[in-house]
């Protein structure tokens, strides 16, 4: 394979690329391209050319540089699918898809809710949610689908806690968010669920305006800087950003530990390794796997390659997180590695806002699972598992386990 750096797309590289035979590894075609060079030219689904950055240093540079925009309305922005482009016309962009200063204005309405102190204070409640979900799964008996019984309900209930959804509404909230995120939902069902959640959150925000509390939604409306509709939209954003990602990391992270039993044993033997282990799993698995899209606002020299204003760029966090220049033996899972330089949460001003919460959830969910179920194992052959290869958030569809 040759890497073409002068504007022509390398025909062997497609987006998204085939994941190959190892479900944990980045697409082999990207790894191969990376060996020839970290700056590649690819064609998107609609034939439009785009830069594909596979190296850690190059991806980090672009994500951290404000000359690259995250605003999908800027001409040249690389869309990952027709559906993503369509979404642009139907929705008002939230801060994920805005540049500063509007991005900062919106994001800063929420930064106070995700500070380390607040998240640390939530740990006992997260532990309770995790324990109860595991109790239910165990009471039900194995084999069980870990995705449905554990990985999905835990973050959904944590978001209920975060937004201040009353206990009586948890069932409704979980059912709607499940429909919103399920592959098996039709477009009409997704629309209906989105509408139901939105109306619910507008009403909930209104209630919190009358009876303020310390939840994210309560604090947001108390600030008086957003309408109830905007507060509800941010609630849906937090749900979408925080539910599917954490759920898939929990299930795929469990699978990676089951397939690397010596690593699981190390974690069981020394629970103090869990924080580093979660960073390593985030690095190793990079579930936001289709690349982080940006568009250049002006001409930028990237290691001698000219990225022109209006060029689309995809930063591949997955290959960056396996980049040998930063992570020696990066194709191996090693829970004792210092993996903190990973780009699994992105980089730059858009880096995941909820990362302290995601870390706490993953640390608690994985550690509790390992401790409580020492005999945990797959209930089907590894080869039979199916993966979310073509979905925005990668993971495993079902994870049948027994114990």
């Amino acid at each position: 394979m040759t890497t073409v750096a002068n504007g022509e797309a390398d025909s062997a590289l497609a987006v998204p690329a085939d994941r190959g035979t190892c479900p944990f590894a980045p697409p082999p075609a990207y790894e191969q391209a990376h060996r020839a060079g970290p700056i590649n030219r690819v064609s998107l689904w609609d034939g439009s050319p785009c830069w594909l950055l596979t190296g850690h240093r190059q991806a980090r540079f672009v994500l951290g540089d404000r000359r690259f925009s995250a605003d999908a309305r800027v001409p040249g922005f690389p869309f990952l699918s027709p559906g993503r482009r369509e979404l642009l016309d139907r929705t008002t962009p939230t801060f994920i898809r805005l540049d500063d200063p509007e991005h900062s204005r919106q994001r800063r309405l929420l930064t106070g809710d995700f500070i380390i102190k607040r998240v640390e204070a939530m740990r006992p409640q997260i532990q309770q949610i995790v324990d109860e979900a595991l109790d239910r799964m165990v009471a039900h008996g194995g084999p069980a689908d870990l995705v449905r019984e554990y990985a999905l309900p835990v973050p959904s209930l944590v978001i209920c806690l975060l937004l201040g959804v009353p206990y009586a509404d948890h069932g409704f909230f979980q059912a709607q968010s499940q429909t919103l995120l399920s592959l098996n939902s039709s477009l009409a069902e997704v629309d209906a669920a989105q509408h139901a959640l939105n109306s619910y959150l507008v009403e909930l925000a209104g209630r919190k305006q009358r009876e303020p509390d310390e939840s994210v939604l309560g604090r947001l409306v108390a600030k008086g800087e957003v309408t109830l509709e905007e507060a509800a939209a941010m609630g849906v954003l937090l749900l979408v950003a925080g539910h599917e990602t954490t759920a898939n990391m929990t299930a795929l992270g469990t699978l990676a530990l089951l397939q690397n039993p010596e690593q699981a044993e190390r974690l069981r033997a020394d629970p103090s390794l869990i924080k580093g282990a979660v960073e390593e799993l985030l690095r190793y698995l990079t579930i936001v796997h289709l690349g982080i899209p940006r568009v250049a606002l002006e001409d930028v020299d990237l290691d001698g390659t000219l990225i022109r204003a209006g060029d689309g760029v995809l930063c591949m966090a997955s290959t960056a997180n396996w980049d040998e220049e930063v992570f020696t033996g990066g194709d191996r899972l090693d829970v004792t590695r210092d993996a903190r330089r990973h780009l699994a949460f992105g980089f730059g001003i858009h880096q995941c806002l909820g990362q302290p919460l995601a870390r706490a959830e993953l640390q608690i969910a994985l550690q509790t699972l390992l401790e409580r179920l020492p005999e945990l194992r797959l209930a089907v052959p590894f080869e039979d598992l199916r993966y979310r290869s073509d979905m925005l958030v990668y993971g495993v569809h079902e994870l049948p386990v027994t114990w």
Partner: protein
Amino acid sequence: MHVTIDQDRCCGAGQCVLTAPTVFDQGDDDGLVRLRTDRPEPAVQSDVRLAAALCPGGAITVHDSNT
């Protein structure tokens, strides 16, 4: 070592507090970076360097000249 911060560049990701908690803090309400000290002890200086490298907004600057 001398550390300075630029709150305008802070995006509240919390990497600095995770990496060097004795040097960095976050405002309770705005979630933005605060300094507990601008002269970190030698024992935590490598953590401070890592925090500066991990800061997604480039809000932390480490000055070495007048240690």
